[in-house]
């Protein structure tokens, strides 16, 4: 049964009771999408445009012996075939990654993962470009591949990055945080210690639209216009200036409508660079759009963390300390998209939502013969891995202590009065009321009833599991003094213009991939200025038209650019106040604001609307000193801290004991993202993330065979939930505003992706408790569940 559920307001356009500001309104972007009038990258056709296609390596590790492009070049529709040798001549064979490594644009010396880029064909149409790939002859000298990250540091492991002078092993970094000695002391004296190794397998964001670009280089004025599927257009502009040597003012990045991103569209992939090279070489626009296998096999994967977790606790369930040792598989190049100073992303928030006495974390990053990446798929810079670790460990401790997992969590939560809370790894949590969210979730779930039902079912031999996850996210990177990506500080600009008739345009640096920025950001301006959202145009996705900012990922759009937009609107409001005072012939301090107008304190009839003021600002009246005219403003928002959304999730599963098939019967999600701008959009973000969670926990994995062949390279092999695998989501919320954020908003885009996988796995393990199963690794496929029931839990490769 479907409920057309209760609403804050009537959503339909033009209704008098529609909110001017926060509340449920329909999305401004939807009319074009439901008519099939979105503008995605592959919809773009430029005059004279050519098509590019990439030849990819069939093996994971091999010396490149030779490439013969003669036959491909002889194809009547082929205009160019570009190889690594050609790029070496242009000094473009290697490009910097987002993690201060380099990545081959086209192979010059050695293939390092299956699917790596070997040659680029430019042809008159997409079919001819594909045909020509078959005409390229490549000879490889196959080398033994390194597939298992656990063997990456063995003395006899093949050295993957032997092009780097002096490199003799596969270690990328060792990184530690916390206090090892204090943690060890607590472990040494604790009543109870539990340990578990767990794998967060390699998965892939797999947005429905693959990555692509159209490069248009104008040789006359030297300007490059690059249309591409990017979540971070400004960062890409700067990086292209560095990579390609094109002056930055001669680069325009346009990010059109994006068919889903989830972090997949943050990095700069070889295909984008090759489209640019193709356009420069041919003098014509070049389109490159990858196919699904290319997307799954070569663009940014996510996770791939092998984690050892340990918890020390008292026998009555007070958690004392948490310790973890992680082996991080980064693939063949270190291309993770994350702040420079955090080689393991924000994994160090693995202390979770609990008040601990000590914590220590060590992460070792290694190269393997796999595609590069690691930070993607709505992970909030690896908070996914951190939450999975701590929430599995807490459940394992609960089992050991024979305590209810909800009770154990409630006993150890950081208390509301402890905020701002400094955890043991350097984060200062802004605000929270964890117990309230947990209790609300338990109430919605009917937790006690579910436990009773479970007892009854177990007595009948039925496998029912109840899993809890409580997560604290850290998002909204971030303060410039702490966070940068390749040297670019993570502050965001915003510009607002109020036109003479009181209509407005706000320009932002972040780029929507479906999150509804055109609606949310208009609502923020509406809330601050009282201009209806339909009278506010949101401009984004074009570096020539928007202020600088670092882009959309890590749930940072509302925490960072949302702050910028609120502040720029307030700046306009203050400017409007001065003009209104002049119009009303009074002092600014005698004015009072109500949404949409300034009026004289004590005399509400004497006021000027924002529309009146906008016209005056552009008119002929003498403006107050210091105001030159117009009603525009711009700001850059450097957030003082990150924001810490949180949530309490409860999952109920039923397992078929005959087949091992896991069915998610119910999923209850209570989220707290601080101030809520559009509840409909928030709910949508949560639903999507919960579905990701079902995918990761039960279905999705990119595995490799011993030869390094990618076993998840198509949608026949990489399984994503359909409508049949997910339940009707049950959502609720609490509101704990961020005290430091201009509007108290914390961000919601990734909460559910971060928080849901451990709830589902905890439920599966709970269901399998009668079989003595304490842990099983994701994905909990029927085969793996069945094996776990036979006492043979199997880790992923």
């Amino acid at each position: 049964m479907t409920v057309i559920h209760e609403r804050d307001s009537n959503p339909a356009a033009g209704d008098a009771d529609r909110p001017v500001g926060y509340g449920r309104i329909q999305r401004k972007e939807d009319p074009r999408f439901v008519r099939g009038k979105g503008h995605y990258i592959d919809d773009l056709v430029l005059p004279g445009m050519l098509h590019g296609a990439i030849l990819r390596a069939p093996v994971a590790h091999a010396r490149l012996v030779s490439i013969d492009t003669t036959n491909a070049l002889a194809h009547p529709k082929v205009l160019a075939v570009i190889t690594g040798k050609d790029l070496e001549g242009l000094k473009l064979a290697w490009a910097p990654t987002l993690s201060a490594d380099v990545q081959a644009v086209l192979v010059t010396d050695k293939v390092r993962f299956q699917g790596q880029e070997v040659a680029f064909v430019v042809a008159e149409d997409r079919y001819a470009a594909r045909d020509a790939l078959e005409l390229i002859d490549v000879e490889y000298d196959v080398l033994p591949p390194l597939v298992d990250a656990r063997k990456a540091l063995d003395a006899d492991a093949p050295v993957i990055r032997d092009e780097i002078p002096g490199r003799t092993d596969n270690k990328i970094f060792d990184w530690e945080i916390g206090n090892a000695a204090e943690t060890e002391a607590l472990f040494a004296s604790a009543d109870v210690v539990v340990r578990q190794e767990m794998v967060y397998p390699r998965v892939h964001p797999a947005p429905m639209e693959t990555c692509g670009a159209v490069a248009d280089f104008d040789a006359v004025n030297g300007k490059l216009t690059l249309y591409e599927t990017t979540q971070a257009p400004h960062a890409h502009r700067t990086l292209f200036a560095i990579v390609a040597g094109i002056p930055e003012h001669k680069i325009r990045i346009v990010s059109p409508d994006i068919g889903g991103g989830f972090g997949n569209k943050v990095g700069i992939y070889p295909g984008y660079i090759l489209a640019v090279v193709g356009s420069i070489v041919t003098g014509r626009p070049v389109k490159w759009v990858e196919d699904r296998s290319e997307n799954l096999m070569s663009t940014s994967f996510a996770r791939d963390y092998i984690m050892e977790g340990e918890i020390a606790a008292t026998k009555d369930g007070k958690i004392l300390a948490l310790r973890t040792n992680v082996l991080a598989d980064h693939g063949a190049f270190n291309a993770t998209a994350q702040p420079t100073k955090t080689p393991a992303g924000f994994f160090s928030i693995f202390t979770g939502s609990y008040d601990l006495q000590a914590a220590y974390c060590k992460v070792t990053g290694v190269y393997t013969n796999k595609a590069p990446g690691g930070v993607a798929y709505a992970c909030s810079f690896r908070v996914t891995e951190a939450v999975y670790l701590v929430e599995r460990m807490v459940d394992i401790l609960a089992r050991k202590l024979d305590m209810d997992p909800a009770e154990l969590r409630l006993k150890n939560f950081i208390k509301p009065e402890q905020f701002p809370y400094a955890n043991k790894t350097g984060w200062v949590y802004d605000s929270g009321n964890y117990e309230a969210a947990m209790r609300k979730s338990m109430e919605l779930a009917g937790y006690e009833d579910l436990r009773r039902e479970q007892v009854e079912k177990r007595a009948k031999g039925e496998l029912m599991g109840i899993g809890i996850s409580f997560f604290t996210e850290v998002v909204g990177a971030g303060p410039r003094k702490h966070f940068d990506i390749v040297g670019l500080g993570m502050a965001d600009g915003a510009e607002l213009r109020v036109h003479p008739t009181g209509k407005a345009v706000v320009r932002i640096s972040v780029q929507s991939q479906g999150q509804g920025h055109e609606t949310t950001f208009a609502q923020i301006v509406a809330e601050e200025l009282g201009i209806p959202p339909e009278n506010i145009d949101v401009v984004h996705g074009d570096t020539d038209q928007t202020p600088f900012g670092l882009g959309t990922y890590g749930s940072r759009s509302t925490p960072v650019s949302g702050g910028a937009v609120a502040l720029v609107a307030r700046k306009v409001r203050e400017k409007a106040k001065l003009i209104a005072a002049a119009m009303l012939e009074t002092r600014p301090e005698d004015l009072e604001w109500e949404k949409g107008r300034w009026f004289v304190k004590g005399d509400p009839t004497a006021g000027k609307t924002i529309e009146d003021i906008a016209m005056a600002a552009h008119g002929t009246m003498t403006l107050p000193e210091g105001i030159d005219g117009n009603l525009d403003a711009e700001v850059t928002y450097d957030p003082p801290n990150l924001t810490f959304p949180f949530g309490a999730y409860i999952c109920v599963v039923d397992i078929d004991p005959g087949t091992g098939h896991v069915k998610v019967r119910r999923f209850i999600a209570v989220d707290d993202c601080g101030t809520r701008i559009n509840p409909m959009i928030i709910e949508g973000q949560v639903h999507g993330g919960l579905t990701d969670g079902v995918g990761m926990a039960l279905m999705e994995i990119i595995e490799f065979d011993a030869d390094g062949n990618n076993l998840g390279g198509s949608f026949m092999d990489y399984l994503i939930p359909t409508a049949m695998e997910v339940p009707d989501w049950e959502t609720g919320f609490t509101v704990t505003p961020s005290p430091h954020h201009p509007i108290g908003a914390k961000g919601i885009g990734e909460s559910a992706t971060v928080g849901s996988p451990p709830a589902i796995v905890n439920a599966v393990v709970d269901a399998l408790a009668p079989y003595g199963v304490v842990h099983m690794d994701m994905p909990c496929t029927p085969a793996r569940v069945w094996e776990a029931m036979q006492g043979r839990p199997r880790p992923p490769i």
Binding site: T2, V3, P11, R35, G36, G38, D257, T722, A723
Partner: protein
Amino acid sequence: MQISMTVNGNEVTSEIEPRVLLVHYIREVLGLTGTHWGCDTTNCGTCVVLMDGQPVKSCTVLAAMAAGHDIRTVEGLAAGATLDPIQQGFMEEHGLQCGFCTPGMMLTARALLDKNPHPDDIEIRKAISGQICRCTGYATIVRSVQWAAAHPAAAAGAAGEGADEVLDGTDTVVEDVATETQDAEVKA
């Protein structure tokens, strides 16, 4: 080779390579870019169009196979300025986020409602089970189709009267929480 077919009520005739896929024909020859492409293996359903009223995945139909048939794409859903109820429903119930799978989802839903004007949730989920949405988690798509079923004559820009009505008297609305009754058959 020369092919002719009806697309959104219009007769079209083209000279094409025999190997051209229907999705490429629709997008690149006819310029109807509302039909999208998402995989190569008939798994994702982003490319769904209606052929003689039946949903087909146009990435695995040759344009030549569609010759002589009646094709309907997302551009053929609305009647001029008047949206199809399914389009209105997707806007009312947040049935879309990035919009990429949306045309295919709406066409499948249209075909379902043409056969079964009052589907239950399971029937809707089954109908769209050959299609992947990475954004919405499907519940809002189910609600969108239910909205369309409840508003067969919704018009473009209509105020959406009745949108606040609960569809089924047995349903409950709990505070600020969208609680949905579970049906044991859904994921069987």
